[in-house]
Amino acid sequence: MQLGWTVSGVGHAVLFLVLLFGGLFRGDRIPEAISVSDVAIISEEEFAALALPGAAPEPQTEAPDVSAPEESEPAPEAPAEDAAPSLPEATEVETPDAPDTPDITVPDPVPDAVVVDQAPPVPVAPSEQDGTSLERDAVAAPAPRVAALPQVAPPPEVETAPDVVPDSAPEPTPEPEPEPEPEEPAAPEAASDRIVTEAEEEQNYAPASSMRPRSRPARPVRQAEPVPEPTPAPTTNTDDAVAAALAESQTQTPAPAPSGPPLTGGEKEGLRVAISRCWNVGSLSTDALGTTVVVAVEMEQNGRPITGSIRLVSSSGGSATGERQAFDAARRAIIRCGTQGFGLPVEKYDQWREIEMTFNPEGMQFR
């Protein structure tokens, strides 16, 4: 009994599998491409008309008339005649006259003795670069510069003879401009946080500028929060004058341990970005751009720097001149952007009462 059930079950399973996946193993499972053509239903009369032998086109046995155009039609001219005038003749090298300098206010200082009053010799082709032959230039073309790369002709030299000669009008060949350039390019005066050279401009498809994140809004002015007063010095528990003096000096340390909650990462970043916006390194010398300076500044409670407190703590990487330039730039940045205050939280004043800023221009040298 069980054997029968088993045989039946296996058989059905095999059947289902064959039905489901049997097509995968068929070689002709890829359907042939179906070609579709438009058809039209025509009547018997139309079919008969199409089947008539006389309706077939007659083969053309005679060549078409290819008679020469009339005289009035201008024949295309050979390009040689038109192209030739642009080249000077070798025999037309004239004896140079005195330099024509009508517009120069400064008198020509060239003395007569220097002027060679004879026809200049035909210049030799500048083969000094490749050191090959010394062939004389038949068309007296000016020699390229010695310092240049004469064997490397500038790419697409578009002044060659045109391939297509205009029909009749001997107009000058239109000169394609492969690279239109502005007459007097000048660097934009807009501020930038990076240097993009002309060689890099074309690869840069990123937006030229973007909005800087706005500085965090000024916090509402809180009621005068008393500045944490120094801990009163113990004066009653000891008679030791030295200990009292020591305790006094400890309470008057200029940088007491900050109390209160520390500045958050966002608050520090806001301060850093605010100063970065005013740190102009464009006029720094390369020496100053290699100098890192650490500048200390004391802050007022309203977030403004105390200008007189700005001092150089340390420097590295440059000469004394570079150090001075770098420090001046850092000081200008602190003063310029601190005019309106840096928007630091007043309740954390102890944390930013004094700030040490490290100005590292390493990444601003050449990027």
């Binding site: 300098t101 060679v116 030799v124 510069r145 740190w279 221009p361």
Partner: protein
């Protein structure tokens, strides 16, 4: 469980210790800044007598033009001034200048003496510190040299603000080109760095190429086709007298000369029998020394500022690249390895960079690299840029840019070493092959 508690306790102690270490000032590091022209105010120079009024106006313009032409400064418009400078020795209202965001103030005065001498004095003020930036200075010169006096003032201002030497009181020798492209006439000309005061050193009777100033600026080496072959001549700028370098053999082609930093030696290229090599010539003894002897082409040599090394171009590797060798010759070291061809290397007067021409992918570039070949940086890209020359302070490069087409003309351009401030140097006609002089005395 115990381990977890111990870990929490340890972290707490670590945090507490860190908080204690953070006592003292808040510390932040700034690594990103901005690059923008420094706003300065070049107040109109005061004419201390009526005869000096025109000079005062012109000198003010040249000083402002020099400074703003660097791309490092922006001259604030006079209309924005809150207070006016009417007395050279008067008090400076720093608050007024700070209010218009001026970071520096230039104050000057001009006097024309009875013996036709110009006296030009100036002071520079740092608005943010509220103090003079350096001492006041006075220059004296003839009325003909008023532009040089103005350049001197601008050099001082530039130097005090940037910490680098200026380059305004300098000249450029170049090849002036006239006539159609296929029959170009060329002659040597000399001008102020800004294109003013053009004077001619040769006529157009023969093709001249590649002038180079001596370290003192009083002589110029150049290549001329006067005899039919390229040969090197030396020209005294003041007397406009030239001489061929006599020790060079007639019939050989000599070109690409350049002075050594001491001015007593010249390196140049000589082509003989289809081979081009670099030679050194002692100008006093006329002794000639071969520095290279490879079958390839070696040319465009340039000394390092200390005179100990020479950079040049060579195709000994199969492609034109840059090499550095000792001033006495020997095995050179290749320093350029990028794609394309490198040529016309020029060592910076500061010794920190080598400028070059590069051709790659159908375009020409002016670029700079460190003297060991590192930090290559392309500053320009054009149909044809070539032949860089350094400003005396090593901060700016001038070069030839030629436009495409039958009407293409070469012109002089300058660019800051950072790649900013690309400008065309005004010339009356087409011009090429600039060579910058040292600062004038």
């Amino acid at each position: 469980m115990k381990a977890c508690l111990a870990l929490c306790l340890g972290l707490s102690l670590l945090t507490a210790a860190h908080a204690q270490d953070r006592s003292g000032p808040l510390r932040i590091e700034i690594t990103e800044g901005v690059i923008e022209p420094v706003p300065i105010a070049v107040a109109p120079f005061i004419a201390e007598n009526a005869a000096a009024a025109e000079f005062a106006r012109e000198i003010t313009g040249v000083v402002a033009s020099d400074l703003t032409g660097t791309g490092l400064f922006r001259d604030l418009p006079k209309e924005a001034y809150i207070s006016q400078i009417t007395d050279f020795n008067g008090e400076v209202a720093y608050a007024d200048w700070k209010a218009i965001n001026a970071e520096a103030l230039v104050v000057g005065a001009v006097t024309l003496t009875s013996d036709n001498q110009l006296l030009v004095k100036f002071r520079l003020f740092d608005i943010f510190t509220g103090a003079p930036l350096g001492d006041g200075l006075q220059f004296a010169g003839s009325t003909q040299s008023w532009r040089r006096v103005a350049h001197k003032v601008a050099d001082q201002v530039y130097s005090r603000i940037t910490g680098e030497d200026g380059y305004f009181d300098s000249r450029v020798v170049f090849v002036e080109e006239t006539g159609p492209k296929n029959a170009r006439q060329k002659r040597l000309a000399i001008m102020d760095y800004d294109g003013a005061n053009v004077q001619y050193l040769t006529d157009a009777s023969s093709i001249v190429l590649a002038p180079r100033f001596s370290p003192t600026g009083d002589r110029v080496l150049y290549t001329s086709y006067e005899t039919g072959f390229p040969a090197i001549y030396e020209l005294a700028v003041g007397a406009v007298q030239k001489r061929a370098l006599s020790s060079l053999d007639a019939g050989t082609m000599t070109f690409a000369p350049r002075y050594a930093p001491d001015g007593r030696t010249v390196v140049y290229s000589e082509a003989r029998g289809g081979n081009t090599d670099i030679f050194k010539l002692d100008l006093a003894s006329n002794q000639r020394t071969r520095l290279t002897s490879a079958p390839s082409i070696e040319t465009a040599p340039s000394f390092s500022p200390d005179g100990s090394q020479i950079v040049f171009e060579s195709d000994r590797s199969g492609n034109q690249q840059l090499y550095v060798m000792s001033v006495n010759g020997g095995e050179p070291t290749r320093i350029s390895f990028g794609q394309g061809r490198y040529g016309t290397p020029v060592w910076s007067p500061r010794g920190d960079f080598i400028a070059f021409t590069k051709q790659n992918a159908g375009r020409f570039h002016i670029g700079v690299m460190r003297t060991d070949g590192s930090n290559e940086r392309l500053l320009t890209a054009s149909f044809l840029d070539e032949g860089p020359t350094w400003a005396p302070n090593g901060r700016v490069l001038m070069f030839t840019r030629e436009s495409a087409g039958a009407d293409g003309q070469p012109a002089l351009f300058s660019v800051d070493i950072s790649g900013r401030n690309l400008r065309r140097v005004p010339t009356r006609t087409a011009a090429s092959d600039p060579a910058w002089s040292p600062l004038l005395p």
